[in-house]
Point group: C2
Chain length 581, copies 2
């Protein structure tokens, strides 16, 4: 592999990290979070012949987010809590079970996790499968034997910390972040040593610069993000200690710049009037030195968030001809409903465009980096602000998009949900919900709820879209060198569509809704396979569970209002599907 | 349809009740429990082209026993507890969910059921889907709308009664039986009115003749089964009140004789020395008038059971040339390890032959109807009797065999498990386990654990067999007019084999172990499909659950000893698979 070497890539699109081909060893396949595979056996012409090759149940009928890894003819599956790791021998017919590693996480984590008991996957490195458990531990398991090599306690469930994200291994470090903004935790990202799991650095996203690892190299592009100890001064009193800004999404890495990129979640407590100020570094994108954790730049997408717009979404790294010259881009399709394109060297905002109905802001001022907000959509204590678009669940959720260097398009799993939002009272008790809002969500304008959007980041517009009438698109996306895009629907269809036209090539109905991320690999027989989990859940998907009543639209942090109808389409499941020609 | 009208049926084999073709509306497809379908699109020649058409998860990762029904282009799936009924619209792509009916059974039933929280399926009749819930209720649901039509309380969980069997609807009556012999319940079978669910008759299997519905028409063939109030006198004191003899398996019906047939479970308390006597009517086959419930005959397979040999296995009704003339047969492949062939008019034993390793008896005396027992394999209080074959789980379990009128063969899902057994103390407390034995099971002689046996009931021998080295065969069997036999393995393979040679034609690896029963039907497109559940569980299969430790061979009523290795092969699942060409 070498840079930009994708067959048929557009000349003005350069990938910046090795792309997955035969194996898939990182959560997104590559460091850059393109989720593009160089495999090209499955094409627009033959995808209609895809069929189920094998299936494996995990036995945990909860949201199956993330996707499997494939390394050395072994497939690795991390289940939702209890976070078992299953190894499947791909050289055996049907994918025989090699072993199951059971970490036995503390069951108290189940009651603490905000949004189902999900896990977003693992990284392979140094002969180990490394992933996080819901009770805020990171485990490293020998990829051959299934024996635990090390286990590190990274957070504390007693104060409401859980971990659901997929760690990214960068050189000798395992990058991990926490969840728990709905319980008033303080967000962080940290690096563990890949050999033994000891903590190398930890950077908080709120608090004094010393804690945030902000030092001499910190050079935010915009004045709004510049200043000393903003992680303290942009909060009232000590609220930054309960300030959320968690890291439960995806981490990217640029090997040349040696920077990691990630987004942060909402500021602690959803009622904005409790926390006057910008509330840094909530709802931000941060760039950090991979070795030291020192911040290079930060860009706050929305200051003083009033809508629970976590911005932990994937940051897709790619070099593109942008405004007449090749630039190092970071593309962030955001919960706020905008696709943000930044210069990933310095954090400059190059463009921000709506990819779904948005009314909280009209656009972004590229001079200041600030949104042009619609004041009457700002929420307040004791006021029901009506019809805000998008809802807290965003124009998209954490489910990751994919960028094909052959089409130059970003394929975004999106939804069209709006909400009424009221800031309310809430008291902090460690380890319990600390929410401060009453929310009711509903389907947005236009007769659809979800959409797979093929977005041209240079032309700054949608090229084509595939709409879902009843349900959001809440699965990750995979694009391949065969010019096929794969994704799933919340009612269980797994689809292959033409990367250029969006024409549907094939679909198969899996057992449950799809909220996981498809991946692809070469089997021991040299053939290309595509795998995906089917098992509805997560925040929006958990409404499909029989245990959740459809009667109260405010339930499930407001999500039931928008999702009650999912019960008519699907219910929980827990199965891995492998497809091939 | 008319009698014996199966294309290509052997001239000396006559089916006696309508066979399933386009639809599948009864648990076994027909009244006679042949599990043979007249459909012939899938053949020995094309079965290798079978592929997955669709899949549906139920969200309940427990033993998925029984199988779906198909009536009027709708497929009906009953889940394990909480016993939801899912209706799938087969006219829609992927089999869209029409509705889910949720009976909300009393959750206390979960702690009472002996062997996982299974359900063995439903009957369709009179526009309703009728099935039992674990908490001992029978429900009737409008097949179109999913609305409950009636609900009848048939048993009492407070004394340990649950219901797991599939009811059989015979004319205007719903035949139901209870579970709970491991808790000292008193077994019964009853008939509910199909219109409103009121109880029409109830027949106990222990106690005075009046309760057992034994009257003037009762004519057992053998002296050993003749006499007054044997259901009392064959027990010490009032032990018959705790006498088990439950009805958790399959009911058959002969429309011409108007008789129903069923087998009964083990006598209450496994320690035989607590209950001297024959312990009637435990481990017996009974024939009853379908309208009145009055007993016609009974045949006790093993008197004074000392091994937990429930004999609730299916009774396959067929007319065959037996001993030179056409006879009305009842074929019962038994837990005791023998295939019993009886004259179903009078209960005469025509033959009893071993189909798996058996050492508790050498054979049966056809003059007396009694087994020739091996005295040193009789178990006793305080004595560890070693190496008894088969184990309590039998030469086969409740999972039903299939008889093809084209081959005249009975396809038996079998296992080869032996045990050490010790009668121990046990105290009766209503609604709690009342077991009285320490059991440890292990794989039997010969290097295999399971076998699909193709048995010739006339020649009284195995024609061919397909062995499984590590695991029992614990799925039901389907045979078809295409001369294909379908069954599943506990490690999840679903197989099509040649009904004549046993040659494997095709297999697919489903997500979990198969303990359900395959069925077949015509889709709205006129094509033949085959459906089966994948979801390991039940008594032997529950050892696959992570919650059950593999360390104590005596655990799970002794089954862990024989089944610990299943964890290396599969784990729980919950998916319906539909296959087609
Ligand atoms: O702020 C947090 O710490 C946090 C954590 C998580 C999580 O860990 O799953 C979610 C969210 N927030 C959240 O805002 C959100 O929309 C969400 C959706 C989901 C999901 O799995 O579907 N998790 C989370
Ligand atoms: O005696 C009873 O009442 C009773 C009930 C059940 C049941 O309802 O599942 C089983 C048994 N016994 C039993 O002996 C047995 O082997 C068994 C296996 C299974 C199963 O689902 O795998 N259930 C039962």
């Amino acid at each position: 592999w070498h840079e930009g070497a994708v067959a048929g890539a557009k000349t003005d699109v350069k990938t910046i990290s090795p792309l997955p081909a035969g194996e898939w060893s990182l959560p997104a396949g590559d460091y850059a979070n393109t989720r593009f595979s160089s495999l090209d056996q499955i094409t627009q012409a033959n995808a209609r012949n895809l069929k189920v090759i094998t299936t494996v149940s995990t036995g945990v009928p909860h949201g199956h987010e993330g996707g499997p890894l494939v390394v050395k003819n072994t497939m690795y599956v991390v289940t939702p809590y209890p976070n078992n790791l299953m190894a499947l021998d791909l050289t055996q017919p049907g994918g025989a079970l090699k072993w199951v590693y059971e970490p036995h996480p503390d069951p108290r984590a189940v009651g603490i996790a905000c949004c189902d008991i999900v896990n977003r996957g693992a990284s392979y490195a140094d002969g180990k499968i490394i992933y996080n458990t819901l009770d805020a531990h990171t485990v490293a398991v020998d990829a051959e034997t299934g024996k635990e090599v090390w286990r590190a306690k990274v957070g504390n469930i007693d104060v409401g910390e859980t971990v659901t994200m997929a760690p990214l291994v960068v050189k000798d470090k395992v990058i991990v972040g926490n969840s728990g903004a709905e319980l008033g935790v303080r967000g962080w990202v940290l690096a563990l040593d890949v050999k033994d799991g000891h903590e190398v650095w930890r950077a908080y996203n709120t608090g004094p610069d010393a804690d945030v690892l902000i030092g001499a190299n910190f050079k935010p592009f915009y004045p709004k993000d510049q200043g000393k100890d903003l992680g303290v001064s942009s909060w009232p009193g000590e609220q930054w200690k309960l300030g959320g800004s968690t890291v439960w999404g995806w981490v990217s890495y640029d090997p040349e710049l040696n920077l990691i990129y990630y987004g942060t979640g909402n500021p602690g407590v959803w009622n904005p009037d409790i926390r006057p100020g910008d509330n840094k570094w909530s709802s931000s994108i941060l760039a950090r030195d991979a070795d030291t954790g020192q911040a290079r730049w930060a860009y706050q997408i929305s200051a003083h968030d009033a809508w629970d717009y976590d911005e932990i979404m994937e940051n897709v790294l790619v070099d593109m001809n942008y405004g007449g010259r090749m630039r190092k881009l970071l593309i962030h399709p955001g919960r706020t409903g905008f696709v943000f394109v930044l210069d990933r060297e310095n954090g400059q905002l190059l463009s921000a465009d709506k990819f779904q109905p948005v009314n909280w802001a009209d656009g972004y001022d590229l001079q200041t980096g600030k949104p042009r907000e619609n004041a009457d959509k700002r929420t307040h204590f004791g006021v029901v602000t009506k019809n805000i678009c998008p809802s807290s669940t965003g124009g998209k959720e954490f489910v990751p998009s994919s960028l094909s260097p052959r089409t130059g398009l970003l394929y975004i799993p999106a939804h069209n949900t709006c909400m009424d939002y009221e800031g309310i009272e809430s008291n902090y008790i460690a380890g319990t919900p600390y929410l401060g809002a009453d929310v009711r969500m509903f389907r947005g304008p236009g007769d659809y709820h979800g959409e797979l959007v093929a977005w041209d980041p240079v032309a700054r517009k949608e090229v084509w879209g595939i709409k879902e009438r009843d349900l959001p698109v809440y699965s990750g996306v995979l694009s391949t060198a065969g010019d096929v895009v794969f994704y799933g629907t919340m009612d269980g269809w797994f689809r292959a569509v033409d990367a250029r036209s969006g024409e549907q090539l094939w679909q198969f109905k899996t057992g449950s809704g799809i909220v996981g991320n498809p991946m692809t690999y070469l089997g021991p027989d040299g053939k290309q396979y595509v795998a995906v989990y089917s098992g509805v859940g997560g925040w929006m998907g958990a409404v499909a569970f029989p245990s959740i009543s459809a009667d109260d639209p405010y339930a499930g942090l407001g999500v039931v209002g928008a999702m009650a109808q999912i019960k008519q389409h699907t219910g929980p499941g827990d199965t891995l599907y492998v497809f091939g020609l």
